[in-house]
């Protein structure tokens, strides 16, 4: 949580410090591809990196440094394990092919700050905070335990934005994100993952 606080404070500080209005009032839409590497207890549930993810956001640009808007994402995690013997809480032994499947759909408010706003490559930091629809399924053989729930999501992100032309809000971006998603079910304590994103943004308005 310290990371979130630090980024929030940094973003607010930079917003107040921003004094350029070249892109004031622009609204952009960004679509991005996303991969994610599970971390912590989530890694024990699904060790595989997810290459099935996407995201989208609509941002209002107060100036060509700071923008604020809404973001939504989707990431699909899946892993099937070879048959193995598991010990259940009641002392029984169960031999099963275990398949773990989990999808996260964060829907967040997002703020972004771009550095070097006049340069051809602009580093940025961003923070999304909001809710998260989680679909959990664990199959023992063909028998599923499933649960859909709603949780919290915070996604600090840093990356590079490359405008199509100078001072444009449209362009390419690549970034890395730390997906912070508290969750508590079964052996899972959270659904944290390291995200990699690549996308394109274009001007809506």
């Amino acid at each position: 949580m310290k990371t979130i606080q630090l980024i929030t404070i940094s973003v607010l500080f930079l917003l107040l410090a921003g004094n350029t209005h070249a892109q004031q009032g622009t609204v952009t839409m960004k679509l991005n591809y996303a991969a994610a590497v599970p971390l912590g207890t989530f890694k024990d549930f699904v060790g595989n990196t997810s290459f099935r993810g996407a995201g989208g956001e609509v941002m209002y640009h107060f100036n060509n440094k700071f923008s604020l808007g809404g973001a939504a994402g989707y990431q699909d995690f899946y892993q099937r394990y070879d048959r193995a013997l598991y010990k259940l809480n009641d002392g029984s032994d169960i031999s099963a092919v275990v398949t773990n499947s989990l999808q996260t759909t964060p829907i967040m408010v997002k703020a972004q700050y771009n550095f070097l706003e006049n340069s051809a490559v602009q580093p940025y930091v961003a923070l999304g905070v909001g809710g998260n629809v989680v679909r959990y399924r664990q199959y023992l053989g063909e028998f599923a335990d499933s649960k859909t729930s709603f949780g919290f999501a915070a996604v600090p992100e840093a990356g590079l934005f490359v405008p199509f032309r100078k001072q444009s809000s449209a362009g390419f971006n690549i970034g890395a994100a730390y997906n912070i998603m508290p969750y508590n079910y079964g052996d899972l304590k959270n659904l944290n993952s390291l995200g990699i994103k690549a996308g394109v943004s274009f001007i809506l308005h």
Binding site: R83, L88, D90, I94, S95, A96, L140, G141, F143
Partner: protein, 183 residues
């Protein structure tokens, strides 16, 4: 997912029991067919005989001697096919509740004795399963009860495919290495 991958094998046992204290066993001559918690039939098809033969073979491989049920076996083993066709969830304890009705204690020569213990309790059933239960008959007279010492359940697709019988029964015993005679 293949049929083989779809199947799960659940076993449990009374951890206080020393399986080496038993030497002989007997097994039911048919399979109880339990539909929605009620005994429908005792079935004795070629497939049922295949299951029975597979369990006999596994038990003999662990050093137990097969005897007739009237020869005071130390262990009694029964087989039940559980079908739940209605929507909803039935748990193994509720399967177990009717147990005396599926396999009357009289079958083992202990008429009127209650069964007790049950170790595969957690799984909900809405489909078909094969359950096998092992009882302590050796101490039934002294305790006045027939105690369940082991149970195994097979669930999933292809359970009643004859070519899967031996590997399925073997799976139950493979994960129950503690079943070993003192012989």
């Amino acid at each position: 997912m293949t049929e083989d991958e779809s199947r799960i094998y659940i076993t449990n046992h009374d951890s206080t029991v020393a399986f080496g204290s038993y030497n002989t066993f007997s097994i039911t001559d048919s399979v109880a067919v339990v539909n929605n918690g009620k005994l429908e039939d005792k079935s004795n098809t070629a497939l049922d005989q295949q299951f029975i033969a597979a369990i006999k073979s596994e038990m003999q491989g662990r050093g137990y001697t097969l005897v007739n049920k009237d020869q005071n076996p130390d262990l009694g083993i029964s087989l039940s096919e559980i079908n739940n066709t209605y929507t909803g969830v039935v748990t193994y304890p509720s399967y177990w509740d009717g147990y005396g009705g599926y396999w009357d204690p009289y079958y083992w020569g202990y008429g009127g004795y209650p069964y007790y213990g049950s170790y595969t309790g957690v799984y909900s059933v809405t489909d078909v399963a094969l359950s096998t239960d092992m009882f302590d008959l050796k101490n039934a007279s002294s305790t006045g009860k027939i105690k369940s010492v082991w149970s195994g359940v097979i669930r999933g697709s292809g359970i009643f495919n004859p070519s899967n019988v031996n590997s399925q029964v073997n799976a139950l015993f493979s994960q129950s290495q503690y079943i070993q005679s003192g012989n």
